[in-house]
Assembly symmetry: C2
Homo-oligomer: 254 residues x 2
Amino acid sequence: MKFAVYIPPQAESGPVPVIYWLSGLTCTEQNFITKAGAQQYASKHGFLVVAPDTSPRDCKIPGEDDSWDFGTGAGFYVDATEEKWKTNYRMFSYVTKELPALVAANFKVESDKAGIMGHSMGGHGALICALKNPGQYKSVSAFAPICNPVNCPWGVKAFSGYLGEGNKDAWKEYDACELAKKYNGPPLEIMVDQGKADNFLTQGQLLPDNLVGACAEGGVPIIMRMQEGYDHSYYFMATFMADHFDHHAKFLKA
Amino acid sequence: MKFAVYIPPQAESGPVPVIYWLSGLTCTEQNFITKAGAQQYASKHGFLVVAPDTSPRDCKIPGEDDSWDFGTGAGFYVDATEEKWKTNYRMFSYVTKELPALVAANFKVESDKAGIMGHSMGGHGALICALKNPGQYKSVSAFAPICNPVNCPWGVKAFSGYLGEGNKDAWKEYDACELAKKYNGPPLEIMVDQGKADNFLTQGQLLPDNLVGACAEGGVPIIMRMQEGYDHSYYFMATFMADHFDHHAKFLKA
């Protein structure tokens, strides 16, 4: 598994907080570091940033490369339970356990000061990592996340494949809306930016309104900003990246 | 020919200055707009930014795709005179005449307020466009430019191919050092950033010292900043992009 790391100048004089970035469908560990323009904000605040790949690769699982939205590049940040995938596709454990341990062992980070953010499929990933592990992440934010995968075509396809067709109870354990409704942990303020001209919004893949409703039900504070004229791209994210780092700084540098 | 355009919000209320960005070897019109993070500075200053491709493409010229540093993606911003290339490979005329006319006809720009900047082969391009057309560009800057193509392997290969082997007099007309020595026009202050850990610097492809010497000889002011630890990448450029836009603003908004 490849991952990218940005080390801020502040790390030269001691351990720094760490932010995990989870990318969207088809991405590798490269997309965020080349396109988001986030280094300047990580440098300003003194955050080490870790950007993992979006799935295992080249596992030789039959069909792993058949779809752009399932298998390679589309791990959906779940631990698969279906026979074919369960050995390799364990992105939830990778992102929340194996990777933080690797990072703690190899970089100067304050492991109790971790934040997590992501885009689209990775926005879903960031939300579920934070909501399923109360206290592990002090801050969470997302750009155009897949908010309610059990109710959108991408999510249904992925969860059917990794967790079993129709296995709704298992699916709900990886659904940000379901998790927000029953969240029980330290205060967690979610920040989301969503472009109003995002074609995946129109297609019903993202369902931000459902997340706002679920957060209200679960008593989880959420800042949901609907951004006029913005699409699903890295241009959109680069525009508001400074605000997301400011949001994380509120909690990681408190 | 494809080109990318960033239109700043200020263009909604009237014409704005324009900056041309010339990319380096192998690039298309996409590299700068996805990786440089420059939109924020163009937006701040109110500059329209135009990023053309680096060569004609798919001309069906035998051998056009044989090298990464000659032919497709490697136009070197010259008007070729060799029979095989002279019909299509006219990047100097394209960048300095055809493209500005297209831009003036289709976007709200103050055509008398133009700047030009570029990277590597495109840094060479920016320098020669400004030095060969006194007054057309009010401002010029470059990242890791090929400063003295007649004396480096990339330049010798390209100029031999496009302008004729050993045709040194023609070569000199597209060499920033030769042009700086004999510059005669309105004041032009060149700004250059060069990474000290740039492998192409070590390999003698860029020769910034020669440009500093030539500028001294020609009385052209130059700010040459040697940046410790930086390489030839877009990460290097993103780091100092704000300074380059500030430099252009000094002249374009004067």
